[in-house]
Symmetry: C2
Subunit: 393 residues, 2 copies
């Protein structure tokens, strides 16, 4: 087997979850997933499709009707894109989940030995994909400041040189909740145009944004870019439509990449199932019935959890603007992974360890606040508080 694969880190999040196996009393906030079932009408669209016998291969790029719907939806969110021209359907590919979209983009762009710059802490899948393709990874770390992880823009731009093939950036960010500002996106894009660097923007959390905004979404690279920019933007149905288990995502790419993307989809998964795509169409057509409610509830979760955590003595945490995570530093020295395992065993509290996302985030913990029942969050804080009292700094 390849050493590049053997050397890929095992998921530290899963290691913590494994520590909870056999314990039914653990309050689990470790995975990035709501505990709410997909809405009925979305499931019904898939059921109808199955009943109609839609069980055959589909076009590699997705159902034309879904691609058009996604293009329209993205254009409504980002009317400034391409000098107001918006997103055209031939630049949209439907994928088997957001992670699959990211992998396809990395396959298209990263040759063995290519330099890839990634902003960390970040969901480990993003950096693993570049390593699978034989890329050389260089990371630029956000810096914690009063509990908020912030970007040193100059340091990032200095790290991106003409030898940098790809910049991988996820904002709103998992795990930190950090978001990019439009002027930062403009500066990064202008710099990458000069260096010839591609940008892979994981914007799957764009709708999970709690600051005031014109189109109810986080600032996007799409707002600043043209169709021809070396930019791939990745999205997913998982978070905004409560569809994690469906494995349905999409990406937006320059028109010249479309032909190659069709080939890559053929060689990776061939297509997303038609009945899953029908569910995506239903979700998109009735997005107003789902996403605003989901986002409002997540905001309520955030606003319930974060102040309670901030009130714990010595804990570092700023209110996140986007995403569905509270990322905080405990006033306890030690390895995040070890602490997360102890929290499972000693307090029945399941959190993700910061060092799952970057070595520099050791000491931090990620709490997914996507909880249908907000009381679960309160109960979790009680457990953390009790544990901290028994384990003072």
């Amino acid at each position: 087997m390849r050493s590049a694969i053997l050397n890929l880190e095992e998921s530290k999040i899963r290691e913590v979850a494994n520590a909870g196996i056999g314990r039914s009393d653990v309050l689990a906030f470790w995975f990035g997933e709501s505990d709410e079932v997909t809405p009925d009408f979305i499931r019904q669209a898939a059921i109808d499709s199955l009943n109609h016998g839609e069980t055959f291969y589909a076009h590699n790029m997705g159902l034309p009707y879904l691609r058009e719907g996604l293009a329209r939806a993205m254009t409504l969110k980002h009317p400034q894109h391409d000098a107001g021209g918006g997103v055209h359907a031939d630049r949209v590919a439907v994928t088997s989940g957001g992670v699959n979209a990211l992998m396809l983009a990395v396959q298209a762009l990263v040759d063995p030995g290519d330099e890839v710059v990634a902003v960390t802490p970040v969901w480990p899948n993003l950096t693993a994909q570049a390593l699978i393709m034989g890329g050389t990874l260089r990371t630029v770390s956000l810096k914690p400041k009063d509990g908020a992880w912030t970007l040193d823009l100059d340091a990032l731009l200095a790290a991106i040189t003409p030898t940098t093939k790809l910049l991988i950036i996820n904002a709103p960010n998992n795990p930190t909740g950090w978001t990019l500002e439009p002027d930062e996106q403009r500066a990064i894009l202008a710099h990458c145009r000069k260096t010839g660097t591609w940008i892979l923007a994981d914007e799957v959390y764009e709708n999970l944004y709690y600051a005031p905004s014109e189109h109810a979404c986080a600032p996007s690279f799409l707002d600043q870019s043209t169709a021809e920019d070396r930019l791939v933007v990745v999205h997913s149905f998982s978070k905004s439509y409560l569809m994690t288990g469906w494995r349905l995502g999409w990406l937006i790419m320059p028109p010249a990449m479309t032909g190659s993307m069709g080939k890559l989809i053929e060689f990776n998964t061939s297509c997303a199932p038609v009945f899953v795509q029908r569910a995506g169409i239903a979700a998109l057509e009735r997005a107003d019935e789902v996403t605003p409610r989901v986002v409002a509830h997540l905001k309520a979760c955030r606003d319930a959890l974060v102040p309670e955590l901030q009130a714990l003595h010595g804990l570092e945490l700023a209110m996140p603007k986007g995403g569905m995570y509270a990322f905080f530093k405990l006033p306890v020295a030690g390895d995040s992974l070890a602490i997360a395992k102890r929290l499972v065993q000693e307090a029945g509290l399941g959190l993700a360890p910061g060092n799952a996302f970057a070595p520099e985030a050791n000491g931090w913990l990620r709490w997914c606040f996507a909880s249908k029942d907000i009381a679960r969050l309160h109960l979790g804080v009680e457990r953390l508080k009790g544990w901290l009292e028994k384990n003072p700094a």
Copy 2:
């Protein structure tokens, strides 16, 4: 973008299909897919799962119950495997289709620059995946003899040296219908043990086998191998269960690969949807109600089509032992792709061009005989006959 990706060949099959766009009168036999909908009870299992709210992330490797069912099913087919120990569930990974399983195996095994040997003609996805991963491809061609493509075993063994990282072999073969014999599998395995070469065996057509056999399937590398052999065997629900559009497959690997495979699945698609896996469980549990009927019908299709084609003057074709394709050479000179397009336009007949599968198969055509209505096959032959009369050799 990577030149390795830009250089990947576009599908010549799709090019032919595109030539038929807008024509409703084309009899299409170009894709490798039955025209029969997935059986009701399989669809119902997915519907029940959706109704029960199974819309969350699943384990990377698949539902334990499905993995156990697959291990049992493979052991029943291949009781000799691992000296009679059979296949254990921890060696099974559930994947997002057979093509996804193949891609995962290639990601695990092929480093940039690694030499990969493939037996051709073959489904182009198999060789494309190695190129995506930066492998160096070397092909060993089957040789046509009286209309049957046959293996020169000595030539294949000579091509596999200690520098060969991976042998890719698909039998029963798409497109030729060629199958491997047990003594050939033994010889290849013994040779690869000496050279340290991995074998990636695409055996998705194993149940579509029409020669007498003890376990109603084609000879498999599993029959000859142990758990520890450098062997990955890939399977799919697509053909045996009429589930092409579901994108559900599996692979069997040595136990030492299981941990890495879990990581690769996480970084590629994360998991197959639970409701799709429930359909797979239903298919497996009631396989006797589907697969024997599908295979008997495919045999009837083959036995109807092949003699009629053989009766056409000058056409070269042997009866295939396995698979769902008639692969034949027309008594007409010229490029397969051009001929396939002319057949669409001039005869309303949709076939796949041989040079989609290997340059040496130029002049040949692939006819997928998986047709619910056997009369369609007769009508197709009539159209071919009429076209040949107008276009004599």
